[in-house]
């Protein structure tokens, strides 16, 4: 049975059931031509802008929105584990978690938990290595109690010794479980392979968690260095006014000490060059593949940055519209997921590469397709249509940058903290619209070198095939303990 016949017979049969609808079916044009004929009005939209305030020299961004009785408050401190020596890794990484779970100078950890859960206060405490981000979400009615408690956790944490012990035990267990999931194993080992003894390459080890390294005073020291006034930017969004929230924020800021000394600079990474194939042997039904090498494009208002961004979208960052998904998934059926990677930090080099997972016998063919796709980006400019798809997605979807007040406030906090242009989104949209196919090819030709990829495979060596791997570069088997 062909599709066409199937369609007609099904329609005919169903039309009998529902009566007169078959005639109506013919009236509405759909399909490609109908879609192309649609015309859309321009979006009439002026995004809300947060108000700028200050409390004791600390910037505060506020965006009121009274649709729902909810308030979000954000604190962002510069500083994190990425700025300090390895011996400080665990206390700096665990600092946000212990601020949340270690009680305050007055309240035990249990009392804090009880208050949070009784009032249904949601809070998140996290770090990305360069900053510590702390957020609060509460119903308006409990804003006072929530904000005071949250402020105490920030400014006067208890770092209860038993809470540290609890955290330490869970971290040790996470380290033990690192190899349970092959995808996580691949990514963590790949970072280690590329970045070596640099914060990006670090994984928490039992040495990091030795009791003397995570003693209470070491958390206090990290708190002293990071959670201090000059490192702070505050943001507020939701059902609240400046008059209401100001005294509470003043209380928080007043409780914070001035920063004792400036933060260390993040160490520049020495990213592995020179390529090669690395294998972690696991008898798995799929091989997990990650490849990359260093790249020097930086986040900046410059044509190279925009060309690399659009090029990455075309290669494998743009989902189904990208080449890697088209070739590895849509055309070959090798994988459920494939994408390119191109990190472009502001101050240091990043990496460019790609990742996928596939059945073992397709691993080498998949790697070849990925390398070929990169090579083509170097040798031939992408089509104008590919560039247009990537650019239109950003430009037409611009409104999604303003979906929630908290999203707008958090972004603006980032700009202020990083001294980044506050009109960056507009610059970005304008920058990518100037990208030409030739610029994309140029940036790939200069930056991307398929023959220099460091390739990591977690998988079954027999079924992947050692002989097939050989032409890809010198093979090293990694032993993971």
């Amino acid at each position: 049975m062909t599709s066409a016949r199937g369609l007609r017979s099904a329609v005919a049969a169903l039309a009998l059931v529902v009566g007169n609808v078959a005639t109506a079916a013919a009236q509405v044009p759909t399909g490609r031509e109908a879609v192309r004929a649609l015309r859309f009005p321009p979006l009439d939209f002026s995004p809300p802008t947060p108000e700028r305030h200050e409390v004791e020299g600390v910037p505060v961004l506020l965006l009121e929105n009274h649709d729902l009785p909810l308030v979000n408050v954000f604190a962002r401190f510069l500083g994190g584990y990425g700025l300090f020596a390895r011996e400080w890794y665990a206390p700096a990484m665990g600092l946000p978690a212990l601020m949340r779970t270690g009680g305050t100078d007055e309240l035990s950890p249990d009392s804090v938990d009880n208050l949070f859960e009784y009032y249904s206060i949601e809070a998140s405490f996290g770090t990305g290595g360069g900053s510590v981000s702390i957020a609060l979400n509460t119903v308006t009615q409990h804003l006072d109690v929530a904000l005071d408690l949250w402020s105490d956790l920030i400014a006067r944490p208890g770092f209860d010794a038993d809470a540290i012990d609890l955290w330490r035990g869970r971290e040790l267990e996470s380290a033990r479980r690192l190899q349970d999931d092959p995808g996580s194993l691949a990514y963590s080992q790949f970072n280690r392979l590329l970045y070596g003894d640099h914060p990006v390459g670090w994984q928490t080890s039992p040495d990091d968690l030795a009791p003397e390294r995570v003693a209470q005073e070491r958390f206090r020291e990290m708190h002293r260095r990071i959670v201090c006034r000059e490192n702070l930017i505050l943001g507020v969004s939701g059902d609240v006014s400046w008059e209401t929230v100001r005294p509470r924020l003043q209380r928080l800021v007043a409780a914070l000490a001035p920063c004792p000394e400036s933060l260390p600079r993040a160490p520049a990474p020495a990213i592995r060059r020179g390529g090669g194939v690395f294998l972690i042997e696991r008898p798995l039904e799929q091989a997990f593949i990650v490849m990359a090498h260093p790249a020097s494009v930086r986040l900046a208002d410059e044509p190279t940055y925009f060309a690399a961004t659009i090029g990455n979208s075309i290669l494998g960052g743009g989902g189904f519209s990208s080449r890697l998904v088209a070739r590895l998934r849509t055309q070959s059926g090798f994988t459920y997921t494939a994408s390119s990677i191109w990190t472009m930090p502001r101050r240091y080099d990043g990496v460019v590469g790609a990742t996928t997972s596939t059945r073992p016998d397709a691993a080498v063919p998949a790697i070849r397709l990925m390398l070929e796709a990169m090579e083509e980006m170097r040798s031939t400019p992408p089509t104008q249509a590919e560039v247009r798809t990537a650019v239109d997605g950003v430009v037409n979807g611009f409104a999604f940058n303003f979906e929630t007040p908290s999203q707008i406030v958090s972004r603006m906090m980032f700009y202020v903290a990083e001294e980044w242009p506050e009109d960056w989104l507009e610059r970005y949209a304008s920058g990518i619209q100037r990208v030409t196919p030739a610029q994309v090819r140029e940036v790939f030709a200069e930056q991307v070198h398929p023959d220099q990829m460091t390739i990591l495979i977690v998988g079954d060596p027999e079924r992947v095939g050692r002989e097939q791997l050989a032409p890809l570069g010198p093979l090293t088997v990694l032993q993971i303990n």
């Binding site: 049975m1 599709s3 199937g6 369609l7 099904a10 529902v18 609808v21 109506a24 079916a25 509405v28 759909t30 399909g31 490609r32 031509e33 109908a34 879609v35 649609l38 859309f40 939209f45 649709d67 009785p69 909810l70 009880n114 859960e117 009784y118 249904s120 979400n137 119903v139 009615q141 609890l166 869970r170 267990e173 996470s174 033990r176 190899q179 349970d180 798995l284 039904e285 989902g319 189904f320 519209s321 088209a326 055309q331 070959s332 059926g333 090798f334 994988t335 459920y336 059945r359 247009r388 239109d392 997605g393 950003v394 430009v395 037409n396 611009f398 409104a399 999604f400 303003f402 979906e403």
Partner: protein, 503 residues
């Protein structure tokens, strides 16, 4: 601690005012939740398709959720994974979108499908040489057809329009498609969705089936947790299809024919089985006129036959182990009634009391005090329409064993069943429900999901919000009763992930 239960009233009131709704008093003093008062515009087409449209202030974006009331539960062993494969196939385009020459494509489909029929016969005979050759033949034919394909065109149209999050998900109960668009392109969704509902083409079929096999390898065959969950469901259900994996068994995936998939689609994915929720910067009247214009003319389709399978009462505890190269893990599941059963709210509260926060009974005992686990959580699944399972998952903290986790879980459940929760515990959970009633309506996409799910499951989008009102009324005695009645030894299935011994 003395904090009054002031939260419920003022909160509901505040939301009513904030949404600018008429403060209509419901009869007999029954208090409506914020969700029930949302001004949802309902449209029912003559073919049975239902639309729910809700205008919200904010950014000029719109969330679309289309839910078909057909999923894994409607499948039979032999053709498992068909709903999930269909989920994938509906992104492949139509007779105009995704093609350069539909007639040329279709001519090759019939040859490919005939070759596939022959392949299945060879497989059944165990003739792997012939099977391998036929696979190569199918791949060659599909490559030939690819010359006429405009790859991923549907995705590209959405992407260029600025869409976000274009995707779909298949569960036991339903298949759900979703996307967000800038609001000036709302009509684009109608044109594309109506086109693929009326006229989908299952091109690149055999390649996509391979993609689904890779998805299964990724989620189940290389994942210790995925495997543990699949084995657990399979042990807990001996009769009801909730025991069969939604992604399908590998041998079924590899045998599904394009014909199977097409006929399944023609029967069960019509407008009569579809609910659409549209939330965001929209004019509900425009939504209604577009809904009628684009979808009214599509034939209703059938509804899936009723699922009559009933899981017999479990006579005794079931236990399985899954060996893996991974640290141990535990999953326990007790048979419980469906989500609309009168006992479901008390079971929901029971879950919140056991693991819904750091102060709860299992978290407190296992993670914080005894420190035998790094995580413990309760949940319900694997579906809502039919009797499901009350799960407890635990991650042991070395050197503690899964036996210790089990003993702690059973001891706390027994204590709760004997003593019941304190009023303070219940009050805490009620406050969380109240705050949750506000938080859950804050995202347009999240809200669209809730409206579509509720309407599809119960025929009334409000039921999801009424359920949460019912949660607030659960008493200590009800919690004790459901704990004692359902969380018993004979009624449970225990699955343990154990490290594989030897090399």
């Amino acid at each position: 601690m003395t904090v009054g239960r002031a939260l419920p009233w003022t909160l509901a009131w505040a939301v009513t005012i904030a949404l600018g709704l008429a403060a209509t008093e419901s009869p007999a003093g029954a208090q409506q939740t914020p969700g029930e008062r949302l001004p949802v515009h309902e449209v029912a087409l003559s073919n049975g398709m239902r639309f729910l449209a809700l205008r919200r202030d904010g950014a000029p974006t719109v969330s679309f959720v289309t839910r078909y009331g057909v999923g894994g539960v409607n499948e039979r062993v032999g053709t498992t994974g068909i709903a999930h494969l269909l989920e994938h196939m509906l992104f492949k385009g139509t007779s105009t979108i995704g093609t350069r020459d539909i007639a040329a494509e279709r001519a090759l489909f019939s040859r490919m499908d005939a070759t596939h029929d022959t392949l299945l016969v060879a497989r059944a005979r165990g003739d792997s040489v012939t099977a391998g050759a036929l696979r190569g033949r199918i791949a060659a034919l599909e490559d030939a057809a690819r010359a006429f394909v405009e790859p991923n065109e549907l995705d590209r149209i959405f992407t260029e329009a600025g869409a976000r999050g274009l995707n779909a998900t298949t569960s036991n109960d339903a298949t759900t498609y979703f996307v967000e668009l800038p609001s000036n392109r709302t009509e684009l969704w109608f044109a594309l969705e109506a086109d693929r509902m009326r006229d989908p083409v299952f091109r690149e079929y055999y390649t996509e089936r391979d993609v689904v096999a890779e998805e299964r390898r990724l989620r189940v065959e290389t994942s210790p947790f995925g495997r543990l969950y699949e084995e657990h469901l399979s042990a807990a259900y001996t009769v009801h299809p909730y025991g069969v994996p939604v992604v399908g068994f590998m041998s079924d995936i590899e045998a599904l024919s394009r014909r199977d998939v097409e006929s399944y689609y023609r029967r069960f994915y019509g407008p009569g089985n579809a609910v659409v929720a549209i939330v965001g910067d929209v004019d509900p009247d425009r939504i209604e006129s577009w809904a009628r214009r684009y979808f009214e003319g599509i034939p209703a389709g059938e509804l899936p036959p009723p699922v009559l399978a009933e899981e017999p009462r479990q006579p005794s505890e079931r236990r399985i182990t899954v060996e893996w190269d991974a640290e141990p893990r535990l999953r326990i599941g007790w048979h419980v009634p469906a989500s609309l059963h009168a006992d479901a709210p008390a079971l929901g509260i029971l879950g919140a009391l056991l693991t819904g926060g750091r102060t709860t009974r299992l978290q407190r005992r296992m993670v914080i005090e005894d420190r035998i686990a790094t995580a413990v959580s309760a949940s319900m699944g694997p579906g809502e329409r039919f009797p499901g399972l009350f799960f407890v998952d635990a991650v042991p903290r070395s050197p503690h064993t899964t036996d210790e986790q089990e003993r702690a879980v059973y001891a706390e459940i027994a204590r709760l069943a004997a003593e019941g929760p304190s009023e303070a515990e219940l009050e805490r959970v009620r406050n969380q429900i109240e705050a949750g009633n506000v938080r859950r309506i804050s995202s347009n996409l999240g809200l669209a999901f809730q409206l579509a799910d509720s309407e599809s499951l119960t025929g009334d989008w409000r039921s999801t919000f009424r359920q949460s009102a019912r949660l607030r009324e659960v008493t200590s005695a009800e919690v004790r009763r459901v704990a004692a009645e359902y969380l018993t030894e004979n009624n449970r299935t225990v699955a343990v992930l154990v490290r594989r011994e030897g090399p």
